[in-house]
């Protein structure tokens, strides 16, 4: 009986009983197959469980959606406004004039004229035609003294801001002017000095067309700021030059118009308000402390409520009750993440703006994950074109008027 198992195993495999073993193997396979059949049937018969038994879970193990409301939960809130020089290259409006503490001027240049004219022909006339928009600050009926001066320093609409004004060089001589009272849908023609036009023709021929700097349009002490269509607007400014070539009249237009405007505005708004100003841009940082939300909670939804101070807000232009919310990346350098969240008006209260959406939810999720909370940056909608002001109550206002963040979140059980 005491034998080597492996040896016996070998013997069994080498004896004629192999056929018996083979039969057994066949039987085994048969049995296992028989076993597999009810198994597969069992699998096939399985049914999804009903949602039963949730009532058994202990309270501490339940997952619930929770609310964090800065209006109720004594969250630290702070708001701070700041001014930011902005470029208006894509603005559909060119604002010009002075009124109510605002001062605005426009810059225009044409980058192409026929290069074959140079000194040939005679300039019969040259005029800049501007088309008005209905927007105005100040007394709309006042007469504006529009003046053009030749710009001699480099500028680009994509970089020129109110801070660039100190470096702007112009010749003192007025190269065009008009004194007009403008309606809502008027146009104004300003005669342009033909000497300047001839200079530009020559520069085209000399292939130094990139030195054509254009003109500055101002209306000092006008008591009114008016908006004109820009190159981005529906009816852009036109420069039309009538030439006489040996008795044949021809009209030439300035091409490839580039324009912009810069504005500065009043700073008389109370510091305890959140101010968003278009044109002479003012933006605001808004900070909410959400550390009371347990780390690693999942943020499901975020709603930002802002209450408008109508008394301090203005609607000179489109007057949109809307703002854009951005993530503040660095509040010292005023840098933002450019993914926007656009607000809407609260259906229950037209004085309240609500911002919500995936972008805001993701942003607050980062705060909750303790990845740094630099707050929000609030920007007025149509900031580059509209010299309107939108003012909101700040953290020191009555509870119902304060900025409010309503966060829906789920914490780990």
């Amino acid at each position: 009986m005491d034998r080597c198992i492996l040896l016996f195993w070998y013997q069994q495999r080498t004896t004629p009983e192999v056929s018996e073993s083979h039969r057994t193997t066949t039987d085994l396979r048969k049995y296992i197959s028989i076993l597999a059949l009810p198994l597969l049937l069992t699998v096939a018969c399985q049914q999804e469980s009903d949602p039963t038994g949730i009532g058994l879970l202990p309270d501490e193990d339940l997952v619930n959606a929770l609310r964090y409301d800065t209006a109720n939960d004594s969250a630290r809130i702070s708001g701070r406004s700041y001014t930011l020089p902005i470029t208006a290259a894509t603005s559909p409006s060119l604002s010009v004039g002075e009124a109510d503490g605002f001062s605005a001027q426009a810059l225009l240049r044409w980058q192409s004229f026929p290069s074959t004219i140079a000194d040939s022909g005679r300039i019969v006339s040259a005029r800049l035609r501007l088309y008005t928009q209905s927007y105005a600050i100040g007394e709309k009926s006042r007469t504006m003294n529009l003046e053009l001066r030749e710009i001699t320093s480099y500028w680009s609409s994509f970089t020129f801001t109110s801070d660039s004004l100190v470096n702007l060089r112009t010749k003192p001589a007025v190269v065009g002017s008009a004194s007009v009272t403008l309606g809502d849908a008027d146009s104004v023609d300003i005669a342009v000095d033909s000497t300047l036009i001839r200079t530009w023709f020559r520069m085209m021929t000399d292939q130094s067309y990139f030195d054509i700097r254009g003109v500055q349009l101002t209306a000092t002490a006008s008591g009114v700021v008016r908006a004109f269509h820009s190159a981005e607007g529906g009816t852009p400014p036109k420069l039309e030059i009538v030439m006489d070539f040996n008795g044949t009249l021809d009209t030439i237009s300035g091409l490839l118009l580039e324009d912009t405007y810069v504005a500065t505005g009043p700073s008389s708004v109370p510091a305890q308000r959140i101010i968003l100003q278009g044109g002479a841009a003012a933006r605001s940082h808004l900070f909410f402390d959400v550390d009371a939300i347990p780390p690693a909670s999942v943020v499901n939804n975020v709603k930002l409520y802002l209450h408008i101070d109508r008394a301090l807000s203005t609607k000179f232009y489109r007057g949109q009750d809307s703002l854009i919310v951005y993530e503040t990346v660095d509040s010292t350098t005023n840098t933002i993440n450019t993914t926007p969240v656009v607000s809407r008006i609260d259906g229950d209260n037209p004085d309240v703006l609500i911002a919500e959406g995936v972008t805001l939810t993701r942003l607050v999720q980062q705060w909750v994950n303790r990845r740094g909370n630099k707050g929000l940056t609030l920007v007025k909608i149509s900031e580059i074109s509209d010299l309107d002001r939108l003012v909101f109550y700040n953290a020191d206002a009555a509870a119902a008027l304060r900025p409010r963040l309503l966060i829906t979140y789920t914490s780990q059980p």
């Binding site: 198992i5 597969l40 469980s49 949602p51 039963t52 949730i54 997952v63 999942v298």
Partner: protein, 402 residues
Amino acid sequence: MKSALLTLLLVLAAMPALAQHGGTVESRYGIGEIKSMTTARHRGMGGAGLALPSTYDISLSNPASWTSLDQLRLEMGLSFEHLSFSTDASSVSNGAVDGFQLVIPLSEAWRFRLATGLLPLSRSSYKASGVDYLDEERYTVQYEGSGGISQFRVGAAVEPVEGISIGAAYQYYFGTIEQSWELAFDNTQFFDSRQRRATNHNGSGLLFGLNARLPWGVTLAAAVSPKTSLNAARNLVFEYSTEDSTVSGASATQTLPTELSFGLSWQATNTVLFAVDYRTRDWTGAEIFDGKQSELTNSYNLNAGVEWMPFKEDIGSRTLSRTAFRLGFSLHQPYITLQGNDVQEYHITTGAGFPIFAGSRADVALSWGRRTEESPLYDTGSIIRLSMTVSVGESWFIRHRD
């Protein structure tokens, strides 16, 4: 044989696919719902089987019993469970493979037997959901679990003294339990919350058994599975609206407390066999990954049953003479209690065993049970279990005398 093993592997490969939902939220706790470690023969007798001698049925809970097997044996089990809940007139059903065991009779000296097997130890399988409101926002929370812990077993048993058998098995535990919850709002403006948690287990444990055949047809048995600490590694994934969903890993231990089992069987007559078992395991101090769970308690099983082979003497009927009928009763306190109060489960069982081919046998068992304590889950609902075990035998390693 290769083809047979291939078929077996295919069947075993289907086992993970069985980790479907079909259990209750109770399996969310501890290491899930723990398998009873009984064959269909034992289940027909209320689960009593520790001290049952058998020439064909491979004991899952007492390695010492393996010495009574005369042939190479491969045994596989299937079970089907149907739970009905009276509270909301719903039910869950599930089927599972109860693993397989192989015993090789290596030597008749001391009746030396080697055994190996792959058996499920626990199973987490549930899907529960509920609806709630946050102010005006309606949302659904769903809890889901799947997976379980399995054990690979290698063991041996000997009978050094006539009537006294001892056995031991090394058990390697492995498996992953995945649990998740999801909170979904009806309002699409809201981001849904999801968490997935996968806990991977591995570790080693031992199982010892002792059988003593006494005069008057009495057999006493005892088994102990000493306390074991499993290594547990957990991955936790939170899905945020941001792209930086966090994955955090952590390691801890998960203890399987000591399990003590005692059994007694009595061959009252040539055709009637009685058996009774008691098994206990105190889970109150068990470490479940990162701490103790208040939902765990001391579990025990008290099982008793009778096996009757009325036609055993009828040598004219080969099949009937080897057919057994069984009845049993068991009282069981689960190790998970979600009600704050310990609840008991009692089952009435019945079953039969019969030869199928040559030395192969099949056993089937049916049990019906209820809980003693009213609960929001079961209340007057019932637990029905159907089990089947097939034992295939062949005298590969035994040289028969001419």
